[in-house]
């Protein structure tokens, strides 16, 4: 219980080290969601709208990649960004940008797969009307993503949850450098191994609270939006 009260003191006292870690974690995870959305939303929408040889295999692959092990993604990105790797000249390894890259890779399949499912259902409903209206393929994609926007919040939340909770990928490509690439999850792992349980528990509590707050906010936006747009 002593550790618990110390953790609480750290949280309420606005400990600068703790809040720097929180800030970086949010920046990395939200940036990863933004990057993954740019790829995953249109990819999922296109998979719902188009038919081509190998589409089924691609869907199976994307679905399977929803369960990608973070350490494997971390290792892959590490090899890409390491000095001798194909993207080594970018000098991104052990920077927040590398962490965003790794997390974006990790969650793009989640966003794409959930988007495809949602868009697929909507397309079954809209197909005849859109064909009758002569809607162009690009407009179909835009319409599906727009009309499914409140359902797609769930896909973005799933991606955010995965990014915010993972530790393996950011540990490998970020290096867990103090005041530079240390996130909540890597800090919790480190502080626990050092026996500094108050900080680890404080970070854990903040992480849980943030995920809860973001989910609650998204749920509220979705509920209000659906009521207005039906």
């Amino acid at each position: 219980m002593q550790d618990g009260s110390t953790a609480w003191e750290l949280v309420v006292s606005g400990d600068p080290a703790l809040y720097a870690i929180v800030q970086l974690s949010l920046f990395v995870s939200l940036s990863a969601v933004a990057v993954a959305s740019l790829v995953g939303l249109p990819l999922g929408g296109l998979l719902a709208l188009t038919r081509f040889p190998g589409r089924g295999a691609l869907i199976v692959m994307i679905n399977a990649f929803m369960g990608l092990p973070p350490v494997v993604v971390g290792l892959t990105v590490y090899l890409l960004l390491s000095r001798s790797g194909p993207l080594g000249s970018w000098g991104l390894l052990f920077t927040p940008a590398a962490m965003v890259f790794a997390q974006a890779l990790l969650i793009t399949p989640i966003i794409a797969a959930l988007t495809r499912q949602t868009a697929d259902d909507l397309w079954n409903e809209y197909r005849d009307e859109m064909n009758a209206m002569g809607v162009t393929p690009a407009a179909r994609l835009a319409t599906l993503l727009y009309d499914a926007r409140f359902s797609l919040i769930t896909a973005l939340l799933a991606g955010f949850g995965r990014a915010a909770a993972e530790v393996g990928a950011v540990m490998i490509v970020g290096g867990n450098i103090d005041n530079f690439t240390r996130t909540m999850t890597t800090a919790i792992a480190l502080e626990t191994s050092k026996g500094n349980l108050p900080l680890a528990m404080g970070l854990g509590a903040i992480l849980l609270a943030l995920i809860l707050a973001i989910n609650a906010a998204a749920w509220g936006v979705r509920a209000i939006g659906e009521r207005q747009a039906a």
């Binding site: 809209y126 005849d128 009307e129 009758a132 002569g134 407009a139 319409t143 747009a229 039906a230």
Partner: protein
């Protein structure tokens, strides 16, 4: 001003279609020419909806040839269709009409004015901002008609447009259809409602088992049917 007709005549030349192993249309011969609304009547499963889908260009026939104004390209130019259960986009009534206008190539600066005109035509001005999916069945059907008319169609295909609507909603839909027909739009309506066919149609095509059994002006169809099956259908007998 309406341009020269390019979707008409709509010609079905020996068109056949099989769906799920069942032959829905058989060597169907039919020409839809400009003029008063044409009604397609027939028992359930006679192929009316399949006919309309092919006429709209939503399905391709297995055999035979369909032409629109002599063209074989099925891409809808100035054709529109009202489905029995229209799907509303997840946005307001006005936004649904604006969407159809934009897809039809209406210039951006004219969209707002046209939306107001079309909603007024459908007596939906007061509901412009309401989510389309929250409208009643009759209001949704009127909105779908406004959306179809946003394409400034020459040919308007209606698939059981008032099925499941109450009499007041039916009258409202029929008024819009009548006004559209009066403005020069060729209306083709598939309907079970023989009263509606009498009220709206200029000519009637009786379809049974995927083929046209009889075509006649509306008065002749009801007063002097030529085929025994037509007589049976009008009596209310089951016709196959």
């Amino acid at each position: 001003m309406r341009g020269p007709l390019s979707e008409l005549p709509l010609v079905f030349d020996r068109v056949s279609q099989t769906l799920g192993g069942v032959q829905v249309l058989r060597d169907l011969q039919l020409t839809i020419a400009p003029g008063a609304p044409s009604a397609i009547v027939g028992p359930n499963g006679s192929g009316k909806s399949t006919f309309l889908r092919i006429a709209m260009g939503l399905s391709r026939p297995d055999a035979g040839r369909v032409t629109w104004g002599g063209q074989t390209d099925p891409a809808p130019r100035r054709r529109a269709m009202l489905f029995q259960r229209p799907v509303m986009l997840r946005r307001s009534a006005a936004a649904n009409v604006a969407y159809a206008l934009r897809q039809a190539g209406c210039p951006g600066h004219r969209v707002r004015g046209r939306v107001e005109e079309l909603l007024a035509q459908a007596s939906l001005s007061a509901l412009a901002g309401r989510p389309a999916r929250r409208l009643s069945g009759g209001e949704q059907q009127r909105l779908a008609l406004a959306r179809a008319l946003a394409r400034d169609p020459e040919l308007l295909l209606l698939d059981e447009p008032t099925a499941n609507l109450d009499p007041a909603a039916t009258r409202a839909v029929e008024d819009i259809v009548r006004n559209a027909a009066a403005s020069g739009v060729k209306v083709v309506i598939a309907s079970h409602d023989l009263g509606q066919v009498r009220r709206l149609a200029g000519d009637v095509h009786f379809m049974v088992a995927g083929t046209i059994l009889e075509s006649a002006p509306v008065a002749d169809f009801f007063e002097r049917p030529a085929q025994p099956k037509t007589c049976a259908f009008l009596r209310g007998d089951i016709v196959t």
